[in-house]
């Protein structure tokens, strides 16, 4: 019998296969509001795959994913037109940052606010300034991605993901490009975000960083 789903994110017996090879086998986890959950495990165990399935970036074969009442079912990824409620609720920070190369840091943050979420330019700029300042990259707002260091790009990517104010933030290896001091600062920043009621699901190899989480789930 399927488990009752009540948390902000509920993953129930998630299975992903590539060419009949199990990449993720029967993963189940809940993330409560305001909770930080770290996913750990060796490379190839399916941490990133799990995050991508939650963000509806890839299909899954079995199980169920529910994000704040929005239900994802096995099979092909639904068209974007049906994913609007999910996009409102979930932000994603990629390991490679995936900043838009032709835009400044500020425009990376404001683009979706203006063109997807209907904010004015002034409103978007205010939100971007607040987030970039909070993540200590406000002075780099006019720089383009190729002018940013790895740590700065990481924080701009976090600001961009946070701009639409998602309830759940998915982060893939957020500390990969950071030195130890920056890792600690990032952990503090993320904790502050969660104190405001946001949930975090973080895939990481970094045991120190994972130790800052409320819960650690080890795969594999």
């Amino acid at each position: 019998m399927a488990r009752r789903v009540t948390a902000l994110l509920a993953i129930d017996r998630l299975c992903v296969r590539y060419d009949s090879r199990d990449v993720l086998r029967s993963l189940s986890l809940d993330v409560a509001r305001g909770e930080i959950v770290a996913l750990m495990g060796p490379s190839g165990v399916g941490k990133t795959t799990a995050l991508r399935a939650v963000a509806a970036l890839q299909p899954f074969d079995e199980g169920r994913i529910v994000v704040d009442g929005f239900d994802l079912k096995p099979g092909p990824v639904p068209p974007e037109s049906q994913l609007e409620p999910l996009r409102r609720r979930v932000g994603f920070v990629f390991q490679s940052h995936a900043l838009f190369e032709h835009l400044t840091a500020r425009d990376n943050v404001t683009l979706a606010l203006r063109h997807v979420w209907g904010k004015t330019r002034a409103e978007s700029d205010t939100i971007a300034t607040t987030l970039l300042d909070a993540l200590e990259v406000g002075e780099r707002a006019g720089a383009r991605p190729n002018q940013l260091s790895g740590g700065e790009a990481q924080r701009v990517a976090i600001a961009r993901a946070l701009a639409p104010d998602p309830a759940l933030l998915l982060m893939d290896e957020p500390t990969a490009a950071l030195d130890p001091a920056r890792r600690a600062a990032l952990a503090t920043s993320l904790r502050r975000l969660c104190d405001q009621g946001r949930s975090l699901l973080v895939a990481t190899h970094d045991a120190d960083f994972a130790s800052q989480a409320d819960r650690v789930l080890t795969l594999g």
Binding site: L57, F92, F94, S96, E101, H102, H115, V116, P164
Partner: protein
């Protein structure tokens, strides 16, 4: 020191070749078999050989020059003068017209055939068109670089007709019948041949000729001695009736030829070669307005074609990347077919092939052919550029809620444009040059105008340099602008 056997053999060969050169056993002559019968055409029974009255005239001349044999060399009709001057062959024959300009620059034989420049019109117009004066504001077609074309250019200024130049003498009549042209002015032999091909219908030849001209042989300026020998043979052929027999065999003999022969045989051999005319400053200045007009045509054709190519190319690339299965197949087939066939063929198909369905104006057909051709190349550039944008950025955009169209417009497209800029600039410069091909469907652009200019002045040096300068003036600023944009974007 004694020469080695190999050196002796080489010396012997060279001596023997030099001796052969002093007593040539063949007369190499040039003509254009594309012009067809009755001048020169590939023999249907043996396409490796040519036949026609000019072929027989060449053979008669060769025989008269000490029993030589005639060897034919194919050359484009408009290039006969330049080719004979650079030594590709000794004698040019193929309906070569006797003009003062040709006489001043080359060694020209006595005239051996008299032709009449005649107007051909549609039967419905025959009662109201009797000459060039009745064609005010109408399109009159002819072959470029001919006396007929010069006549039309002169009439353009005096009567306001619109001369249209063709590269061949078949399509002017086809376009006359289809209504694209109002009249055709060409040699009576060509007009009669075109009428025979159409079974005597489609157009009529007006009885009163517009002008009279003569066919001659053309030799290099330095070959005036050989020219005098050729003249002697031609006179002999007129006297002994062999030339008349040839013309009768090809059904081009008429009483005017007898009058011409009589007059030529009574005249004393002149043997004179005029002073070579070079493209002086006055001639350059005279051609500047025409070249400027042609450059504007080139620019217009290129810009409009490129605009069409960019729009269609974007649609094709989007179809290949975002379309359903059948759309991807359809766009792929279009791209491969267009890239796999010559642009020249596409021009002919759009202008002449579709004429039965839709009669496109030449300018529009040129833009369509060039634009649709380059669209296939643009599509592949855009597809490559769009695919070069990292996939993870597209995923990031999806997680932020962008629709596919927004991703293309706001994220993928602007970045792809940067990748595509350099190859697009290359393509535009290539298109600028490929636009010269549209002259085959009567659009007189820069290269065509230059060819006309070069024919008139008898040299490609000044016209070629001028033409190259204009092309460079058009393409260099564009390449510079593209480089500047690339630098700015790279710096950004």
């Amino acid at each position: 020191m004694e020469a080695s056997p190999a050196c002796r053999l080489a010396l012997c060969l060279l001596t023997s070749l030099a001796a052969q050169d002093r007593t040539p056993r063949e007369l190499v002559w040039g003509g254009d078999a594309e012009g067809g019968a009755p001048f020169v055409e590939a023999d249907p029974a043996n396409p490796a050989q040519v036949r026609g009255f000019d072929v027989e005239v060449a053979a008669r001349i060769a025989r008269g020059l000490g029993g030589r044999t005639a060897r034919f060399v194919q050359v484009q009709w408009s290039s006969i003068d330049q080719s004979v001057e650079r030594g590709d062959f000794a004698l040019g024959l193929s309906g070569v017209e006797d003009t003062p300009a040709r006489r001043t620059r080359h060694a020209v034989t006595i005239p051996y055939f008299e032709f009449r420049e005649v107007l051909a019109v549609r039967p419905a117009d025959a009662s109201r068109i009797h000459g060039l004066d009745d064609l005010r504001g109408r399109k009159v077609a002819t072959l470029g670089s001919t006396i007929a074309y010069d006549l039309l250019l002169a009439a353009r200024d005096s009567t306001g007709i619109i001369p249209i130049s063709y590269d061949d003498d078949v399509h002017p009549y086809a376009d006359l019948v289809q209504g694209r042209m109002d009249a055709v002015l060409l040699d009576h032999i060509i007009a009669q041949r075109a009428l025979r091909r159409r079974g005597g219908t489609g157009f009529v030849i007006l009885p009163t000729p517009v002008a009279v001209g003569y066919y001659v042989g053309v030799l290099a300026r330095a070959d005036s001695a050989l020219r005098d020998s050729v003249d002697a043979v031609l006179r002999e052929a007129m006297r002994d009736g062999s030339l008349e027999q040839t013309f009768r065999r090809w059904n081009v003999w008429d009483e005017s030829q007898a009058v011409l022969f009589d007059r030529v045989l009574r005249e004393k051999a002149t043997g004179a070669v005029g002073t070579a005319r070079t493209a002086g400053a006055s001639q350059v200045i005279a051609y500047v307005p025409s070249l400027a007009r042609a450059a504007v045509v080139t620019l217009l054709v290129s810009f409009l074609s490129m605009t069409l190519a960019v729009m269609v190319g974007l649609a094709l690339a989007s179809g290949r990347l975002y379309g359903s299965g059948w759309l991807r197949v359809l766009t792929t087939v279009y791209i491969e077919v267009i890239r796999g066939t010559p642009l020249l063929l596409q021009l002919f198909v759009i202008y002449y092939g579709l004429a039965g369905v839709v009669r496109l104006p030449a300018f529009l057909a040129a833009i369509l052919a060039l634009g649709l051709n380059y669209a296939a190349y643009e599509a592949e550039i855009y597809r490559g550029a769009l695919e070069a944008v990292p996939r993870v950025q597209l995923e990031a955009a999806r997680t932020l809620g962008f629709s596919e169209m927004q991703i293309l417009r706001l994220i993928r497209g602007p970045q792809a444009l940067r990748y595509a800029l350099a190859p697009m600039t290359n393509d535009f410069v290539a298109l600028l040059k490929d636009s010269a091909l549209v002259s085959v469907i009567t659009v007189v652009e820069l290269t065509k105008e230059t060819a006309i200019y070069a024919t008139n002045v008898g040299s490609w040096v000044v016209p070629g340099l001028l033409c190259a300068a204009v092309y460079l003036a058009m393409s260099l600023p564009l390449a510079r602008l593209a480089r500047r944009l690339e630098r700015r974007w790279r710096a950004a």
